[in-house]
């Protein structure tokens, strides 16, 4: 089971969007940046999806400081493709930030890529 945590301003919407996809082997839970940082470090969760206006501030928050920039990536307000996300996951990224007005497009792409990678 791959565990995804959501955080930031649009955390409810992101969790809802991912849940609706009903992807096999993916579990999503609403969290916050501080809790998520601790859980990722402790191995209790695998990925973190954060959202805010910029796609990086509230969404990444303390994660960048605690997980290091090697594990974090922000799409800002842009929309990535599934291949781009797969490449990033392959490179060791676990924490993704994106703009809250792009949740409906970015969250499914991320969730599908994560599901495909860990399947």
């Amino acid at each position: 089971m791959t565990k995804i945590l959501t955080g930031g301003v649009g955390k409810l919407e992101v969790a809802e969007t991912v849940q609706k996809l009903a992807l096999d082997g993916v579990d999503v839970a609403v969290s916050s940046d501080m809790d998520a940082a601790m859980k990722l470090r402790a191995g209790q969760a695998d990925y973190y999806l954060g959202t805010c206006h910029t796609g990086a501030g509230a969404s990444l928050g303390v994660l960048l400081g605690l997980m290091g920039s090697a594990a974090c990536h922000t799409f800002g307000r842009s929309v990535p493709t599934e291949d781009e996300v797969s490449a990033l996951i392959g490179a060791g990224k676990k924490v993704f930030g994106f703009g809250m007005d792009k949740i409906d497009t970015v969250a499914p792409v991320l969730a599908r890529a994560i599901a495909a990678h860990d399947a």
């Binding site: 809790d35 805010c52 910029t54 990444l60 303390v62 809250m100």
Partner: protein, 455 residues
């Protein structure tokens, strides 16, 4: 072309800046660029987390510049510029996001304030010119934009209700909604002199905070009881006492405290800018400042602070760089202060207290996850209510400018932006559409195809 002639003609609605105001903006931009250069503070909350690697020397100035530009550009052109053009009032996205970038960009220390000042000058002269031009047009969209304030104030009143519903469910959200509605009606009847939503908003925010604190206290009591029961408790509680986080936070707080005097100067400057009533700090405040409703502006920005304190505190403590406007508390204080000297003193003191209290605030927030949660729900609720208010207000402005044709153009442009994947940030899309709509209506007037609604 700039200022004097138009100022005399347009009268009270003109927001042409005086020489003192222009110099204040220019000097403040120089200062914020300098502070950004030193990586002591950035306005963009999204850039702040990236400052850690820069401060610790793990990344280069040019890489950080790229991050800053990437995260800010959309907000400068998609939020700051349209807001300023549609209100004639300055805003932090237009002033401080570019100075973030210019400061980090500058390879030399002396160059940062020079570039910052240059940007300040561009904004001041550009806005003055655009303002006087806009007021001289037959279809005046700046005046039409004043329609915005009623929907903003009244819909913003509801934001605590939305936040409570999101965080604590339908029942409590519904109760909060009824309480707020009753308070609005009562305020209108009993104290017609004050803004109808003032008491309702205060009570709503207090309810949200009370729910959150109560939940955290209950949770902690439960965890303590559980931990007493079995030694190997779940690591559910990520408290601020955790080692890596605590050491990261205290290093940052110490770094910021070392530069306290500079932060006090910054606070004084930002507070002064707000006091001059040429600047709106929040997403919707510019419209209220443009209309001269300073107490409304102060209320909106004061409550907005609750949504931003945890975000700014945690990003600052995690990165070692503070916010250019601090916790943004200096905005509402500035709007309300009667004179500039008081603003300078209060701004400096507020920033001093904020910087000194930062590590304490971080510790408290670590212990109150629900309060941190609340702030995220608050910000999300603020965007939801303002989005509707700004869209509705923009359509009202469109109606005032050009009736049905105005609504068609402005509403159509808004929908087009949505369909194209939101090139302009949603919050600014409708005001930007009003500007474009205003230009189109003026062109149509000039082609003799349209008669302005109001003479």
């Amino acid at each position: 072309m700039r200022g004097n002639i138009a100022a005399a003609a347009a009268g009270s609605t003109d927001l042409g800046l005086s020489l003192t105001q222009q110099l204040t903006v220019i000097v403040l931009c120089a200062l914020t660029a300098f502070i950004s250069h030193l990586a002591l503070a950035v306005f963009n909350d999204g850039v702040r987390p990236f400052m850690l690697d820069f401060i610790q020397g793990r990344t280069t100035r040019s890489a950080t510049t790229a991050v800053s530009f990437g995260l800010s550009a959309g907000f400068i052109f998609g939020l700051g510029a349209p807001m300023a053009l549609s209100t004639g009032v300055l805003n932090p996205w237009l002033l401080f996001l570019p100075t973030d970038i210019l400061g980090i960009l500058s390879p030399k220390k002396w160059l940062a304030p020079v570039l910052g000042a240059a940007w300040g000058a561009v904004v001041v002269f550009g806005l003055n010119g655009a303002n006087s031009l806009a007021h001289d047009l037959p279809v005046d969209f700046l005046t039409a934009m004043q329609q915005m304030s009623t929907p903003i104030l009244f819909l913003f009143t509801l934001f605590p209700v939305l936040a409570i519903s999101k965080q604590f469910g339908k029942l409590r959200g519904g109760i909060a909604g009824l309480v707020e509605l009753a308070l609005v009606v009562a305020t209108m009847k009993l104290w017609p002199g004050i803004f109808a939503g003032a008491i309702a908003m205060a009570v709503g925010v207090l309810m949200l905070i009370a729910f959150a604190v109560a939940k955290d206290l209950r949770q902690r009591r439960k965890e303590r009881a559980e931990q007493a029961g079995r030694a190997d408790g779940p690591a559910e509680d990520a408290s601020g006492g955790d080692d890596p986080m605590a050491s990261l936070f205290s290093t940052s707080a110490t770094r910021l405290r070392k530069h306290l005097p500079l932060f006090m100067v910054l606070g004084a400057g930002v507070c002064l800018l707000a006091q001059m009533h040429i600047f709106g700090g929040g997403e919707a405040t510019s419209f209220l400042v443009a209309k001269g409703d300073y107490s409304g502006a102060a209320q909106v920005d004061f409550y907005r602070v609750f949504g931003f304190v945890p975000l700014i505190a945690t990003t600052a403590l995690a990165s070692g760089a503070y916010g250019i406007a601090g916790f943004t508390l200096v905005y509402p204080i500035g709007y309300l202060l009667p004179n500039p000297w008081l603003a300078l003193i209060c701004g400096a003191l507020v920033f001093a207290v904020e910087v000194l209290a930062l590590s304490w605030i971080g510790r408290i927030l670590g212990r109150l996850p629900s309060v941190r949660d609340s702030s995220e729900h608050l910000r999300s609720a603020i965007s939801d209510s303002l989005q509707l208010a700004i869209l509705f207000g923009s359509l009202m402005a469109a109606n005032a400018m050009g009736g049905g044709l105005g609504i068609l153009i402005v509403g159509g442009l808004y929908l087009l932006n949505e369909a194209m994947g939101r090139v302009v940030v949603r919050m600014a899309a409708a005001p930007a559409a009003v500007i474009v709509g205003g230009v189109i209506l003026n062109l149509l007037y000039w082609l003799d195809l349209f008669t302005p609604v109001k003479g």
